[in-house]
């Protein structure tokens, strides 16, 4: 018996989308025209950089294709790195597992089941060297995702490795994320305060920045992670305001240490999310460029235009990807990548379509890289600077977002700055309201998500290859860490750690980076270095 065909939208009725609001609630007008915007724009590379931080943008140099990668052992991650470079990655982005970020070794009890799952398991100098084996550090830049104090240990290991290869510190190119507030997803208060005293972490991060500025002039000392904030459900305005406020807070603290802004501001960057509302996102980035430029110039007195650049790396949103019909995510990621390019960002990680299932496999990584290459070479998006500039809609939205972002930044400033707001729990409160609101919107389909709350097909389990790791990987890493620490000839490490302990106990207000690096050079492990400081401050970590 033939089934009646389903006609969801009668021709007479027609099909319409449920509403015309952007993700942050801005109402899209029916049509935009000169009444909405009739202004002037600066040139590309001209203050306040609305159209981009460079005069020629992608015509002069394409963005970096910088996929975050890493899993299991350093050796396996090294293989993946080489594969990614072979298929067209142009920048390295090292993501360690959680243990690495919070400063514990694989044999830490609470870490044992998480070792190597969300990133590379790494804790020793030898791990770093294995991870980067055969990689020419002076020909390709590396981003290392670590908050302080782990950032200091990893930077130390990286510098040791460069030295062993004869690469001078002045030639080191890359970024250490180095932000204590936003690396650990959320940033829920618990995640950021449970493994190290937050004030000391912040201070160590600043110490590292101060250490690197004169010694590694090409190295980026900080990436403010606005993506993690955004992925908890806040909107574009909140994402921008929180991250710009946090960035300003860091700049303020560095200035208060007596540093000259024109020596360090250009070494600070941002890491943002890109979501699916194309025009709002483009407007967001343009607004952020303007606001940051103004902050640097007017509030902090920067004179060099490079100090005013809002340099931004992005990763396309994971929050918007679905477990249902995962292939749809390819489309989403492609649109988001295009949006990033239209926004003028400096590097991109395109999220893989299996995000809701597992870590990316080589296959899905490759597709992500191809996505970026297709946009770069096959579309016209890279042939002219700020192609959407001058669009009545985009300019109006840029103005509107800029206004809202400033307002929120004033609120944060009035409360004592982002760091204060974070410590008070205010940021957490905002994030919580946002996540519940977003969950409601996803439930009710007010935020339409095809395949999940709209046009949902109750299909059988998706045909998707789940990336699985070697079954003995964790056991091996745990044993490695144990053996390393029990090994012979650790006297110099013990001495250096004791020194670090003493310094932290009695001179924590002075530089701690140098004693930390000494311990790293003496082959202390990540946890050993961090524990010395934990013990010195009487800080205990969850068992």
């Amino acid at each position: 018996m033939a089934e009646d065909p389903k006609i969801e939208f009668d021709h007479a009725k027609g099909e319409k989308i449920p509403h015309f609001r952007s993700l942050s609630g801005i109402e899209y007008k029916r049509i935009y025209d000169r009444e909405d915007w009739d202004g002037e724009l600066p040139d590309g590379g001209e203050y306040p950089f609305t159209r981009g931080i460079h005069e020629d943008m992608y015509r002069g140099r394409l963005w970096t294709r910088r996929q975050q990668s890493g899993f299991g052992s350093p050796e396996e991650s090294n293989d993946l790195l080489k594969y990614l470079l072979r298929v067209g990655q142009t920048g390295i982005n090292i993501d360690s597992d959680i243990a690495g970020k919070i400063g514990v070794d694989p044999d830490y009890p609470l870490a044992q089941a998480d070792v190597g799952l969300q990133g590379t398991s790494m804790c020793t100098y030898e791990d770093m060297a294995a991870l980067f084996k055969d990689i020419p550090l002076d020909r390709i830049s590396s981003t290392l995702i670590f908050p302080p104090p782990a950032s200091v240990v990893m930077m130390g290991q990286y510098m040791m490795m460069a030295k062993a290869e004869g690469i001078p510190r002045e030639s080191l190119i890359g970024t250490m994320m180095n932000c204590p507030f936003t690396q650990l997803v959320g940033p829920t208060f618990q995640a950021n305060t449970h493994f190290f005293p937050i004030d000391l972490a912040l201070k160590i991060g600043l110490d590292l920045m101060e250490y690197l500025i004169p010694r590694c002039p090409k190295w980026n000392i900080l990436n403010v992670n606005s993506r993690n904030i955004r992925e908890s459900g806040v909107d574009a305005v909140q994402e921008a305001a929180f991250s710009l406020a946090l960035g300003s807070d860091f700049v303020d603290r560095l200035c208060k240490r007596g540093l000259d802004i024109d020596r360090f501001a250009r070494r600070i960057g941002f890491f943002s999310a890109v979501h699916l509302d194309i025009f709002e996102e483009v407007a967001k980035f343009r607004a952020m460029r303007r606001i940051w430029a103004r902050q640097m110039k007017e509030r902090f007195g920067a004179r060099d235009p490079k100090s005013m650049w809002f340099r931004c790396a992005v990763q396309t949103s994971s929050l918007t990807l679905t477990a249902q019909e995962p292939m749809n995510n390819i489309v989403r990621a492609a649109v988001q990548t295009l949006t990033a390019i239209l926004s003028g960002v400096q590097s991109v990680h395109t999220t893989s379509y299996d995000e809701a299932y597992c870590l990316p496999s080589e296959k899905t990584h490759k597709l992500a890289i191809r996505t970026q290459q297709i946009i770069a070479y096959e579309t016209g998006a890279t042939k002219s600077v700020d192609p959407l500039g001058g669009s009545y809609l985009v300019e109006k939205m840029t103005d509107e977002l800029e206004e809202r972002i400033w307002e929120l930044m004033k609120v944060i400033d009035g409360r004592g700055g982002f760091v204060e707001c974070f410590k008070e729990g205010w940021v957490e409160g905002e994030l919580n309201s946002a996540r519940y609101k977003l969950a409601d919107q996803m439930e009710s389909a007010e935020l339409p998500i095809i395949g999940m709350n709209l046009f949902r097909d109750e299909e059988t389990a998706p045909d998707i290859e789940i990336f699985r790791q070697a079954p003995d990987m964790q056991a091996k890493r745990i044993q490695y860490a144990r053996d390393y620490k029990k090994g012979g000839n650790r006297e110099s490490a013990r001495i250096a750690l004791k020194n670090l302990y003493e310094r932290t106990r009695s001179h924590a207000d002075e530089d701690l980076v140098v004693p930390m690096l000494e311990a790293v050079e003496a082959r202390a492990t990540l946890q050993e270095v961090c524990d010395a400081m934990r013990e010195a401050t009487g800080f205990s970590i969850p068992g």
Partner: protein, 320 residues
Amino acid sequence: MTADLDLDTLFESLRSGNRRTGGLVMSLVEDCHPQKEDILKRLYECMDRAFAVGVTGWPGVGKSTLIKCLAQAFLDKGKKVGIIAVDPTSPFSGGSLLGDRVRLREIEGRENLYIRSMASRGHPGGLANSARALVKIMETMGYDVVLMETVGAGQDQTNVALIVDTTIVVVAPGLGDRLQAIKSGILEVGDILVVNKGDRLGADGTAADLLNAVMMGERKGWHPPVIKTVALESKGIEELMAEIARHAAHSAAEGSAKARKHRAAENEIVEAIKTRLFERFFNGEDPIGKSMSEYAARLCERKSDPLILADAILREKDIS
């Protein structure tokens, strides 16, 4: 639970400090287990032995951190400590999200510590009633000190204040006008006033403000001290412990503890009568049922008033 519990075995297990039994019995008295009365009778047979401290205040002032410090201090003195963390129940859903344990995480897992979460509603006989029962259970299990954390400043908190030996009210600087609004409530129940986050701007001002109010108020015998703490750094805790001890000694000497317990007892009897009346007349059923939305609508449109509606409902149920 259908089988009758052997109360002798149950209480023997409780007295040995068995956590599992403790958790179970606490649930039995919170819900309406058929043997609840017998259990309560046995519990109240023993004289009050544990020292109960209530800690109350608005959300965000740092109560949990403060309780953590106090618990640590008592544990370090070798005491067995119980914590009852009360979180508000949603008036709409009847459900509750109890998140205090997360804030007590640093001390969780210690041997002589028991942490129990409690919702503020859904207790026949009132919150204070159930809380008292929980304190008694902890006492029977051998706990010397029970710290009870409640939120806000309302009737519930006033009732809880009556069942503990010492009530600490915690504020934080920056409350502004809210402080004015809740001052009378604070002074009514607070035996010790704490200004937490004492290293922040405005802390001294807030402390001075409270001190002033204490001076001007009438409180026979005991003048609530105002203490500044920075719970996150465990500052001010020694002073607070000393004041708690001082208050305990004072109440014992003066007999105000007795008067308070008397008032609490009167309260409990009234609440119990209310519970019984409700049970007897409505047999445990929802007294209003389907007509509720109609009545509520009438009330919303101001076409009637609650007492008139109550009379109508009672008439319908043949109660006059």
